[in-house]
Amino acid sequence: MRYFFDLVYVLTQKEIKVRYKNSVFGYFWSIMHPLAFALMFYMAFKVFMKVKIEDYPLFLITALFPWQWFSNSVSSSLFVLMDNASLIKKLNFPRELIPLSCVINHSMHFLLSVPVILIFVYIYGRSPSWWLPLGLVLVFVPQFLLSYGISLAVSSLHLFFRDLDRLVSIFLTLLFYMTPVVYGEDMLPENYKYILYLNPMAPLIICWRRLFLGQSFEPNLLLFGFLYSLTIFLAGYSLFRKLSWRFAEVL
């Protein structure tokens, strides 16, 4: 157990050090990216197209940060097994720790960006829900499972289908617009509401926004998101386990 923890620790540390060489700079980028998108969407939808959502920048920020965590975890996990090919070919250790360290890396960046979100919440004179501390954990866990599950699936499949990265980037873009990030879930016409149920990220993003904007807690929505994420995690994990014996052969 102790050893297991150490393995995850060194792999994550490597991931962070290698990606940024300097973690302060990495932190800066992980904040700038969603903020730049928030500005862009604000200009496009609020200033030019005049959507009727109050505090639209805040509305965007509370959803863009969690979205970025998910999307970065998935897209960077695509290459994570290839980058560690030499290890996989020689050493017998639990391979699922490689994508895990990648997802942990992005999770840490997300957690570190929570104060930034809260600063914006206060700038706009709002206050987050009383259940914020508990809520952070309750929404974090399913999103972590979801990100990890999808990362397990795409990282392993990518070894076999080397053009999967293109498909994943299209998929992420589609999913982004299917998720209520730039619009609110109540803006969907009645006959399109089902989109929310097709998309595992939708309930989580709604929960994040409600949490940060101080709106009411919806246990059903969270439970739905949790079960959805758990299912996807289990599917991704079993796929990964099934394929992991072949990793050393294809690399």
Partner: protein, 255 residues
């Protein structure tokens, strides 16, 4: 030297040709029937009906041409590959000595790489920290240890790699063609360390192209030819025939 540490029992290993699917999902789907058929029927046989035993405490050499199946054997022992047919039994903790730089990262410093590599090889972080000074001492890389690995020469990387392995406590040690790098004095040091492991009763499996090294350290040698066992025997006998039939010069593996 009675009980076997590694047993290969009629082991065959074949790889499907993954080229069909690694070419991409698009191609795979558009030519699905033929792709599936090809995946099932065509495969590359890396090992055929290989049987041997490595006794506990023995130093066992493996020789053979490039592509003969040596790396596949090491992969099977390390547990990263599964045999297609037959059984592989390994008793004890296996530590592979990674080839040049594998398991290292060039952006990390020597010290950070020692921790990463040590933990990957099965030590806890605390154990690595405890042995840190001794590892650095062994590597003789004092001046460079806090520099990123990309500033190292290949010989220095090999030193660092061997220094980590020298501080492990494995039952079975896999060494794949690493003594070729590094200067003479370090090579000597490595051979001495292998002697030490041997004294401790560690089983060593040693892949090399150097007939000299094989003769120096091995108790028995297996010669792999055409994906199967050609001969197993005393180093002198096997190596004599091996170097004789190998009269056609092969590109040297020296780095």
């Amino acid at each position: 030297m009675s009980q076997a540490a590694v047993i290969f029992d009629k082991v065959s290993k074949s790889y499907p040709f993954y080229t069909h699917i690694t070419a991409g999902l698009k191609k795979f789907i558009f030519t699905l029937p033929s792709s599936l058929k090809e995946l099932k029927s065509k495969s590359f046989e890396a090992l055929r009906d290989v049987s041997f035993e490595v006794y506990r405490g023995e130093t066992f050499g493996i020789v053979g041409k490039n592509g003969a199946g040596k790396s596949t054997i090491l992969g099977l022992i390390a547990g990263v590959l599964k045999p297609t047919k037959g059984r592989v039994i390994v008793r004890g903790r296996v530590s592979p000595l990674l080839e040049l730089g594998a398991g290292f990262h060039k952006e990390l410093t020597g010290r950070e790489n020692i921790v990463l590599n040590g933990v990957l090889m099965g030590m806890t972080r605390r154990e690595v920290m405890k042995k840190m000074d001794s590892i650095i001492e062994f590597s003789e890389l004092w001046d460079f240890i806090d520099q990123p690995l990309r500033t190292y020469s290949s010989g220095m990387v090999a030193r660092l790699a061997f220094s980590v392995v020298a501080h492990l406590d494995p039952d079975i040690l896999l060494i794949d063609e690493v003594l070729a790098v590094g200067d003479l004095s370090f090579q000597k040091k490595c051979l001495k360390k292998m002697e030490e492991f041997k004294q401790r009763g560690v089983t060593i499996i040693f892949v090399s192209h150097s007939a000299e090294d094989i003769k120096k350290v091995c108790d028995r040698v297996m010669w792999i030819e055409n994906h199967t066992v050609h001969k197993i025997g005393r180093p002198h006998e096997v190596m004599e025939e091996y170097t004789f039939t190998k009269a056609l010069p092969e590109p040297k593996m020296m780095l």
